[in-house]
C-alpha cells in the first residue's frame, strides 16, 4: 500500500491510516473535519467539492486521497490566506453572491485557482465560461457573475 503524506492548508498530513479506496472529499470532510468542501453530486458535475492541488482546481469527489501524495492541497478554509483568494472572498461578500451558500466554497476555490492560473487580463467572457463547472441551484448566476468581475478587477 502506498503510504506517504501530503500537505493540507500548509500542515503535513500522514496518509498511512487512510484506506486505499477513500476519496479526497471524504478525507477532508470526515477525517480532517474540514467541512467547507461540499459534496453536491459525487459525479464531477457540480464543482461543490473543488479544492486546489498544487494551486490547480480539482474535483475532490473524483480523486482518491492517495493520488495526491506529495501534493499541496488547499481548501476553502485557507483560501483567503493568499492575495487572490482574499480578493475572491471579499468579492463574493460584497456582491452578496450566496443564498444557501452550499455552492459558494466550490465557486470561491475554483475562481481563485482560475485567476491565479490565467492572467487577470483574461476577458470576462472567458472567465465566466471557465467557471461553467460550478453549479448554483438557488442564488442565481447574476450576483455570482458580478463577484467574478469584481474579483478580477480587484487583482488587476
Amino acid at each position: 500500500m502506498p503510504a506517504g503524506s501530503t500537505r493540507v492548508n500548509g500542515a503535513p498530513v500522514d496518509l498511512s491510516e487512510v484506506p486505499d479506496d477513500e476519496r479526497l472529499l471524504d478525507t477532508l470532510r470526515w477525517r480532517l473535519a474540514l467541512r467547507g468542501t461540499k459534496e453536491g453530486c459525487r459525479t464531477g458535475d457540480c464543482g461543490a467539492c473543488t479544492v486546489l492541488l498544487d494551486g490547480r482546481s480539482a474535483l475532490s469527489c473524483l480523486t482518491l486521497t492517495h493520488e495526491v501524495e506529495g501534493a499541496s492541497v488547499t481548501t476553502v478554509e485557507a483560501i483567503a490566506n493568499g492575495r487572490i483568494g482574499e480578493a475572491v472572498r471579499d468579492a463574493f461578500i460584497a456582491e452578496g453572491a450566496a443564498q444557501c451558500g452550499y455552492c459558494t466554497p466550490g465557486f470561491v476555490v475554483a475562481l481563485t485557482g482560475l485567476l491565479a492560473e490565467r492572467r487577470a487580463s483574461t476577458p470576462v467572457s472567458d472567465l465566466l465560461e471557465e467557471m461553467g463547472g460550478n453549479l448554483c441551484r438557488c442564488t442565481g448566476y447574476g450576483t455570482i457573475g458580478r463577484a467574478i468581475v469584481r474579483a478580477r478587477e480587484a487583482i488587476r
Binding site: 500500500m1 502506498p2 486505499d20 479506496d21 476519496r23 459525487r42 459525479t43 464531477g44 458535475d45 464543482g47 473543488t50 492541488l53 490547480r56 482546481s57 480539482a58 474535483l59 473524483l62 480523486t63 482518491l64 492517495h66 493520488e67 475554483a110 485557482g113 482560475l114 490565467r118 492572467r119 487580463s121 483574461t122 476577458p123 472567458d126 465560461e129 471557465e130 461553467g132 463547472g133 460550478n134
Partner: protein, 285 residues
C-alpha cells in the same frame, strides 16, 4: 469497493501487474474521471487499482513534424501549450470543450482512449489527425492507428498486460472541432465534428462523435472535398454526405433526425473555420 491501490514507477512493473491478474481483477487509473464513476456504479469492482501516477508518461514532445503526448499528461497541460494551440487548433478546441477546468486538470488523453466512449470529444479529433497509439506491454512495444485502436464503447485493441504509453500525431494540421450540447460545460456532445486538412492530397479528414458504436471517419464526406480550398458547392455536398451516411441513432440525448440535421451545419462550420483561420484567437487573450 475495498480495493488496494498500487502505483508502480516503471512501465514494465505496471504491465506485469496487469498480465498476472485475472480479467477484471485490476482496474487502471489515470485521472480517474471515468473510472471512479464505474467504481461507484459497481460496473467495475476490482481487487486492485493500478495507478499510473508515478509512470514517466506526463510528457509533450515535438520530434520534427510529429507531436507525441504522454498518456497520463492532464488535458489542461496540452491546452495551455501555445504551440499546440497555434499549430493544431482543432486539438485545442476538442480538449478545451471537455467537462470543466477542474476536470481537465486531472483527466487524460490515455483515459479518454481507454474508455473509448462513442461520445468522446477527443477520439474524433485524433481520427482526423491520423493519430496513433503507442502501446507498451509484457510482449514489448507496438503502435496502432486510433482508427484500429477504438473498437466500441469500453472496447479497445489493448491486449492483456498492455497500457497506452503515448499518442502521436504525425503532423500539425489546420483543424477545428465543433460540438452541440445542451450545456457547454460538463455535458455530453449530441454530435461532435472534427475536421482537419492534411499537407498533401487527399487533403481533408472529417470525423464524427455521437455516433454508434464508436467515433468514425466519414469517407463519403471526405471524398466530396477535393480542393485544398474547397468552394461552397463542394462544402455543401460534403455536409449532405455527412447527414446521409453518419451512423447516427436515437438515444436519450437526441433523436437520429435531429443529429442528421445538426451534422450538416456543424460540418460546414468546421470546414469554414479550417479554411479561414484568420479570425481565430491564438493564446490566452
Amino acid at each position: 469497493m475495498g480495493f488496494t491501490l498500487v502505483a508502480p514507477e516503471r512501465p514494465e512493473e505496471a504491465c506485469e501487474i496487469l498480465a498476472s491478474a485475472a480479467p477484471g481483477q485490476v482496474a487502471v487509473l489515470a485521472g480517474g474521471t471515468d473510472l471512479l464513476l464505474d467504481l461507484d456504479s459497481g460496473r467495475s469492482h476490482p481487487d486492485r487499482v493500478l495507478s499510473l501516477r508515478r509512470l514517466p508518461w506526463r510528457s509533450l514532445q515535438w520530434n520534427g513534424p510529429t507531436l507525441t503526448i504522454g498518456s497520463t499528461l492532464p488535458l489542461s497541460e496540452i491546452e495551455v501549450d501555445p504551440v499546440v494551440r497555434a499549430r493544431i487548433p482543432g486539438l485545442w478546441d476538442a480538449i478545451h470543450g471537455v467537462g470543466s477546468l477542474q476536470l481537465r486538470h486531472r483527466a487524460t488523453l490515455g483515459g479518454n482512449l481507454g474508455r473509448a466512449s462513442p461520445t468522446s470529444d477527443l477520439i474524433p479529433m485524433l481520427l482526423a489527425l491520423d493519430a496513433s497509439v503507442e502501446i507498451v506491454g509484457v510482449q514489448g512495444i507496438r503502435s496502432v492507428p486510433v482508427d484500429e485502436f477504438v473498437l466500441a464503447s469500453r472496447s479497445t485493441a489493448l491486449r492483456v498486460g498492455e497500457l497506452i504509453a503515448s499518442i502521436s500525431i504525425p503532423e500539425a494540421r489546420p483543424s477545428a472541432y465543433v460540438w452541440q450540447r445542451v450545456r457547454p460545460s460538463n455535458d455530453i456532445s449530441q454530435v461532435g465534428v472534427a475536421v482537419a486538412r492534411a499537407s498533401r492530397a487527399p487533403f481533408w479528414r472529417v470525423a464524427l462523435g455521437g455516433v454508434t458504436p464508436r467515433p468514425v471517419r466519414l469517407p463519403e464526406a471526405e471524398r466530396e472535398l477535393r480542393a485544398e480550398r474547397p468552394l461552397t458547392p463542394e462544402v455543401v455536398r460534403a455536409a449532405e454526405a455527412a447527414a446521409t451516411h453518419a451512423p447516427f441513432a436515437t438515444d436519450k440525448r437526441a433523436t437520429e433526425t435531429y443529429r442528421r440535421q445538426l451534422v450538416g451545419v456543424l460540418v460546414r462550420r468546421a470546414i469554414a473555420m479550417v479554411s479561414a483561420p484568420l479570425d481565430r484567437p491564438v493564446g490566452w487573450a
